[in-house]
Every structure is written in structure tokens, then in C-alpha cells.
């Protein structure tokens, strides 16, 4: 499996996307904190975090006695860079901003 395959596989699951969303909102969380937001066993959350770590989307780092989980956005950026160059990016982000504005005011 290539690195990209791992990233797409990791993202192809709503629980794992939810975990990334939680880390995006606030980074550097323990397993216990993440577990408290999901109707799932600790073992289940650990399995999902493992898949995210294997894909490089989550990086776990020790801080004293705690193991903290961080969202690593680089793999997604590298996928972005593969198909979107600097000139296309302006148009894409203008459209993305328009979508956000229209949906927020709706």
C-alpha cells in the first residue's frame, strides 16, 4: 500500500474523520479525552487512532506521563500539491470561500 492509499483509506471512515475534526478543533489530546466524545470502547478508539497514525494523519507525542495526539496536516497537503498548483489554488479557494459564505448565510 502506498502512502496515499493509507491516507485515503484512513479518511474513508466517518469515525476517523470525526477524530480528525476533534483534533482540528483542539489539538494535543489524550486517548481518554477523545474516547469521551465517542460512543465506542477504548479499544475501538485505539484501533482507529492506529490507522490514522499509520497514515501519518495523527502523530502521538509524549508529554510527561501523557501521550498526546496531534493532527498532522502534511499528508493532506501533499495530496493537495499533487493536483493543485499555485495558480489553480486561487480559483479553488475563491470558490471554496464562496461556498462557505453562501451556506453560512442560507
Amino acid at each position: 500500500m502506498t502512502d496515499d492509499d493509507r491516507v485515503f483509506k484512513a479518511l474513508a471512515d466517518p469515525t476517523r474523520r470525526f477524530l480528525l475534526d476533534r483534533l482540528f478543533a483542539r489539538d494535543g489530546r489524550t486517548l481518554t479525552e477523545l474516547e469521551s466524545e465517542l460512543e465506542m470502547t477504548r479499544f475501538g478508539v485505539m484501533k482507529h487512532l492506529r490507522v490514522l497514525e499509520d497514515a501519518g494523519l495523527v502523530v502521538a507525542r509524549r508529554s510527561g506521563r501523557e501521550k498526546l495526539h496531534f493532527l498532522n496536516p502534511v499528508p493532506i497537503r501533499l495530496i493537495h500539491d499533487r493536483w493543485i498548483d499555485k495558480y489553480t489554488e486561487r480559483r479553488v479557494s475563491a470558490l471554496a470561500d464562496l461556498k462557505t459564505q453562501v451556506e453560512e448565510s442560507a
Partner: protein, 153 residues
């Protein structure tokens, strides 16, 4: 993007690069390399703990980044403080800290982890380096080391 989230006081970025730890070390410590991916800046330092870590504009007329080397263990770990001087608001904030960790992997790859932390008192700096900030630099570093060419654009 940053307005939606709480301020991240520790930011972690990790990537795999098909290069030796020595090549990565060279790319992050020599100005002729940093000029090609670090927003054109020239990083200059003796990399001796206690000595300055400086990032100059491409023509050397301005100091963009100032800091101090905290730890230097080539080609494994580099840690230095960081203050962005290219913007008045970030220049007024206290120093934060950047740690580069390089770990050899199989198949000619090395894992590079960049941790930018101690940003608690530096929200403007945190916002300016998050999102595309570090990622453009790291993506450019990877491209440079793997292809010998700077990232397009």
C-alpha cells in the same frame, strides 16, 4: 480557518522524505538550501547552543526571523527559539520554540518531525505559521530533496 478553532499552542508536522538524515540536516542548516524552500530566506547560525539563529530576507537587507539555538545534535535534532520579525504584530510577541527531529527509516527514507510550541503567549505567530505556513515550507523541502528542484511557483 484559525478563527474557527482554538489557538493551537503546540503544532506538529511530520513527513517522510526520501533522503538521508545528513542531507536533511544540510537542507535545514545551510542558507543556499533554505533559500530554495523557506520563503526564500537565508538561515544563518553556527548551530552552537546559546548562539543566534537568524533568517534573513533573500537580499540580506532584513532580518525576518530571530532566535537562539537551544540544542544541536547533527543529523538528529535541532531546537531553537523563534520570533517572526516580518510582521509588526508577530515581532511584538515573545519567542516560541521550533524543534526539528530527523529519524532514519528503511528504504532510504527519513522521518522529519517539526514541532512548533511554546506559542501560548504568541497567538499571532501561531496563526501565521499554522495551516499553509509550515506546510508550504515542508512540502517545498521534500520536493527539493527528492527532485533537486524547488516547488513550482
Amino acid at each position: 480557518m484559525t478563527t474557527m478553532t482554538e489557538m493551537q499552542t503546540t503544532q506538529v508536522y511530520q513527513l517522510f522524505i526520501k533522503a538521508t538524515p545528513e542531507a536533511i540536516w544540510e537542507a535545514i542548516t545551510k542558507p543556499e538550501f533554505t533559500a530554495k524552500y523557506f520563503h526564500g530566506s537565508l538561515v544563518e547560525s553556527t548551530f552552537v547552543p546559546g548562539e543566534p539563529y537568524h533568517g534573513y530576507s533573500p537580499d540580506r537587507s532584513q532580518l525576518w526571523v530571530d532566535g537562539e539555538v537551544l540544542e544541536s545534535d547533527p543529523p538528529r535534532k535541532l531546537q531553537h527559539t523563534w520570533r517572526s520579525l516580518y510582521d509588526e504584530e508577530t515581532a511584538a510577541e515573545p519567542h516560541s520554540r521550533v524543534t526539528w527531529e530527523i529519524e532514519p527509516q528503511g528504504g532510504g527514507f527519513a522521518k522529519l518531525t517539526v514541532v512548533h510550541d511554546q506559542l501560548d503567549q504568541s497567538p499571532k505567530t501561531a496563526a501565521s505559521v499554522s495551516g499553509a505556513g509550515w506546510m508550504i515550507v515542508l512540502s517545498g523541502l521534500k520536493t527539493l530533496l527528492e527532485t533537486g528542484e524547488p516547488l513550482e511557483g
